[in-house]
């Protein structure tokens, strides 16, 4: 059976725990892979570095991407993703603290599919994660695999 992996790119351990909790509360049981900086995210996506040899055909189904990241920034991860033939259609949701105009603009400009601001109120965050899961994991149809 095909497992729909979620890649969470998040450097803050608290946010990682809260996101995991929010996913659990919404009964989203997909495998959650966490990359703690931009370079690790790129390694996972391109099956390089510590992820060399990974079966890239297994996904991820969606990337939840923070913007402020160590090493390689979230926007740079996004640009490299979009420049790669295999990952250029991969759904990417920017999940961040910022609602600055410039971040939103640059996020969409670099090819984000969605931009969600993490609310402080945990209950609101759980609701956001529920809607994201429903949309990107269930409602949204993936682009067909290239032959």
């Amino acid at each position: 059976m095909e497992t729909k992996t979620i890649l969470l790119v998040e450097d803050n351990a608290d946010d990682e725990a809260l996101t995991f909790r929010a996913l659990m509360k919404n009964n989203i049981s997909n495998q959650l892979v966490v990359a703690r900086d931009g370079a690790e995210a790129l390694d996972y996506l391109f099956a390089t570095g510590k992820y060399s040899g990974r079966d890239v055909s297994l996904g991820p189904q969606v990337v939840l991407l923070d913007l402020n990241l160590p090493k390689v920034s979230g926007l740079e991860v996004l640009r490299q993703l979009r420049a790669n033939e295999r990952t250029k259609l991969l759904p990417v949701v920017i999940l961040t603290s910022s609602n600055e105009d410039q971040d939103r603009l640059q996020g969409y400009d670099s090819g984000a599919n969605s931009y969600v601001r993490k609310p402080v109120d945990f209950n609101q965050f759980v609701e956001s994660v529920r809607q994201l899961g429903l949309y990107w994991l269930i409602l949204n149809e993936q682009p067909p695999a290239r032959r």
Partner: protein, 382 residues
């Protein structure tokens, strides 16, 4: 001119008479002979003088002839001269005419010269004036250049300060919110996961922690919005203020349909201003009215153009809770509130934001109100 030989006479001295009688006669005879002799000589001399005179006269005649010739020649010359003279006279006449004309011309020229001199004199005065004005202008230009340099420097400082503020705001937006999510999220996790181990007081504390975190998040957002009002670039467009007011009013009525609030919005009010910022300002003002009339069963909120003598002065007014005019000065300060959060919720940023927006448009804002007699906010846009 003619000098002939001058005749001169020799008078012989009487010799002593040796014999008084015969000798006296003899002497007389001799004397007479001598005289005659002398006279003959004298006569010869006279004759030669006469001859000389005749020669002279003869010479004179020739001379005279020559003279006559000369005279004729002179007369001829004079005659010639006479015709010459008439010509000269004519010439003189015409010359006089010319002189006369010239004299008139000269008078005219003198007149012109006087006029020119007057003009020059005026011009001198004018020149002095112009020089004075020039000097003032030069001073002004110097001052302006100085101000320009000063302004450039200030602008650079301002731009640097803005960049810093930008970076600061960005950091606040990202970094201050992250711990708040942890505080709120893990408090909520405790409430959910450990509910059976917590008593009512512990649960209450956790709720307080959560609401404080959320309030701080709101404060951060309001602060960011306030700073964004100052940071963003001003873009002026022609705006239909009445339409903006109506859309805000209908949003409010849709959100709380149970409220009985009458909106009186004057039609056709326009302004040239930043569409986003003006929307924020008007939303703050109208939402304020909506909020501060919430204690009354019915209310009226008005948007219109003021009859005051100020050009393009608009107002948003209500018949709500109003404010104590003694504290009116604090109305527009950031995080300043005239009511407690229990009476009316808020962070005290709304009117500060409006104030900044109006000021960025070069306008003014002021308020008139009294406790329980409503409040009216007047503003101008430039």
């Amino acid at each position: 001119m003619m000098s002939g030989p001058t005749p001169h006479y020799h008078l012989q001295e009487a010799r002593p008479d040796p014999e008084p009688e015969s000798s006296a006669i003899e002497n007389a005879r001799r004397a007479t002979l001598n005289i005659l002799e002398d006279f003959a000589a004298e006569k010869c001399e006279l004759e030669s003088g006469q001859r000389a005179t005749l020669n002279i006269l003869e010479d004179f005649d020739a001379e005279k002839k020559r003279m006559a010739g000369a005279e004729r020649a002179v007369l001829n010359i004079l005659e010639d001269f006479a015709s010459e003279k008439s010509q000269l006279e004519e010439f003189q006449h015409s010359f006089l005419n010319i002189l006369e004309d010239f004299s008139q011309e000269k008078n005219r020229l003198e007149g012109t010269q006087r006029a020119v001199l007057n003009i020059l004199e005026d011009f001198e005065g004018e020149k002095a004036n112009v020089e004075l004005v020039n000097e003032r202008l030069e001073n002004e230009i110097r001052d302006r250049k100085h101000i320009e340099v000063e302004m450039q420097r200030t602008n650079m400082e301002l731009s640097a300060a803005n960049k810093e503020l930008e970076a600061f705001s960005y950091s606040v937006s990202h970094d201050l919110r992250t711990p708040l999510r942890s505080i709120d999220g893990f408090s909520q996790a405790l409430l959910e996961d450990c509910a059976d181990k917590l008593d009512a007081t512990a649960m209450d504390y956790l709720h307080r922690v959560r609401s404080a975190a959320q309030r701080m998040a709101t404060l951060i957002d309001d602060m960011l919005n306030l700073s964004r009002v100052t940071r963003c670039e001003l873009r002026r467009e022609s705006l239909d203020l009445s339409a903006i007011a109506k859309s805000i009013a209908s949003e409010l009525q849709e959100a709380e349909p149970e409220r009985r609030v009458e909106f009186a919005i004057e039609d056709g009010l326009t302004a040239v201003a930043d569409p986003q910022l003006i929307r924020v300002a008007m939303e703050n003002l109208i939402r304020n009215s909506w909020k501060y009339t919430s204690g009354h069963p019915t209310a009226r909120i008005e948007f219109g153009r003021s009859d005051a003598n100020v050009k393009d002065c608009f107002f948003v007014g209500d018949d709500g809770a109003g404010f104590d005019p003694r504290y009116a000065a604090r109305l527009f300060g950031a995080f300043q509130r005239l009511h407690t959060a229990k009476e009316f919720p808020g962070t005290g940023v709304g009117l500060a934001t409006v104030h900044r927006i109006i000021h960025r448009h070069g306008g003014e804002i002021w308020a008139i109100g009294a406790v329980e007699k409503g409040a009216t906010f007047y503003f101008t846009l430039r």
